[in-house]
């Protein structure tokens, strides 16, 4: 039975029928002729509108302008991130190190480099060793040997300390660089002379 047939008897519209009329757009011949029903239907419409407004207000309170601005920034950030997809790291198939052909080659190169470094180092050490061995032969000539032999005087162990020091002073510094220091140092023979 349609609404038109239902209300054809001229009775007022019941409150429960307003919902259908409201959903259908509110066109009914009875509303045009009955002021009381029109008023009640207007009240119903106002109630429905108030419900809608309540919903909107509630949602707008939850989503403030600041929140919407943040939301927009986050959307933009997500879109940017989407353009740069992250590098996918393959999960390792085995925990043991797998030697591929490429890594084998690298290993050879590393071994060669290590060998080269070791060789250069060893060569340096050997060179140094030879230099040390060669040094006395080149510097000790016959003249210097004779000089040294003259410079060395036998010191009697029976002499006193003073004699030993006097003897050492008399010899003077053998090293040229120490002469300046020797000149600055007071000598026991000078002290004895003053006495």
């Amino acid at each position: 039975m349609s609404l038109r047939e239902r209300f054809a008897g001229g009775g007022h519209l019941a409150d429960r029928h307003f919902a259908r009329l409201w959903a259908d757009g509110g066109n009914h011949p009875h509303l045009a002729s009955c002021a009381a029903c029109r008023l009640r239907f207007a009240e119903f419409g106002a109630w429905a509108a108030a419900i809608g407004e309540e919903f909107q207000v509630e949602a707008d309170r939850a989503f403030t302008s600041d929140r919407l601005a943040t939301q927009q920034v986050q959307i933009n950030r997500r879109l940017e991130a989407m353009e740069r997809p992250g590098r996918v790291i393959v999960f390792p198939k085995s925990t043991r190190a797998v030697i591929t052909g490429r890594s084998h080659g690298r290993r050879w190169v590393a071994a060669a480099a290590a060998g080269l470094i070791a060789g250069v180092g060893l060569g340096q050490v050997l060179d140094l060793h030879r230099a040390i061995e060669r040094e006395p032969a080149t510097h000790f000539t016959a003249a210097t040997a004779a000089e040294r032999a003259n410079a060395i005087r036998p010191v009697s162990t029976t002499d006193g300390d003073e004699d030993f020091l006097n003897g050492a002073e008399a010899m003077g510094p053998r090293v040229k660089e120490l002469r300046a220091l020797d000149d600055m140092t007071p000598h026991s023979r000078e002290l004895l002379r003053r006495k």
Partner: protein
Amino acid sequence: MSGTSAALAASREADASAASAVKSLQAEGHQADARERYAELVARHQRRASRIAYHYLRDAAEADEAVQDAFVKAYSHLSTFREELPFDVWFTRILINGCLDRIKARTRRERWLLPMGGSAASGQGESAPSERDVSERVASSGPSPEESLLTRERRRQIAAALATLPDRQRAVFVLSHVEGCTSREVSALTGLNESTVRVHLFRAIRKLRTLLAPGNGAAVERNEKGKRRVTS
């Protein structure tokens, strides 16, 4: 009314041109420009999208995520957008599907969770403390505490009544009444027949009228709890 429809037509035209511009920029590889142009569409639709998602999910944080997901999905699938359909209709469909997926996931999750007093609820009605409650506690020079309390109570009752509606009725009610979509638009958005949309709308408003009638607060509570028992 004609002014509203003219504004809607103008807005849809702007959407269509922005969407086609973004599509062509994406195709040419100008991603930064495409994003910049897409931001216009986001700004134009995000408030409405947030409202819809909020009415579906009843949780501001989850609605926020759903809106973000929908915009990102729409951007990445913009090449499949047919321009004969308005962008807002196409986008809202993506959003609603996302919200429905979230509701399903939430229902599944709740099935395995033990209820812990009022805190384990799904974020519906009074049992879920939300940011709204916090913001309402802030002192202001607006209405008196008594008025605020009454308003809050009324909103809580409306939210509880809406939560008792079946999903389709709720979707149709929110889209047609709260967002102002026509029956044809709601039909395009939900995939329902136009006459079915009207039937759902009629049933939704009739039920809300019954539940929100003076002195029916307890009935709303009972209905809501009953619905929770059924869904969980």
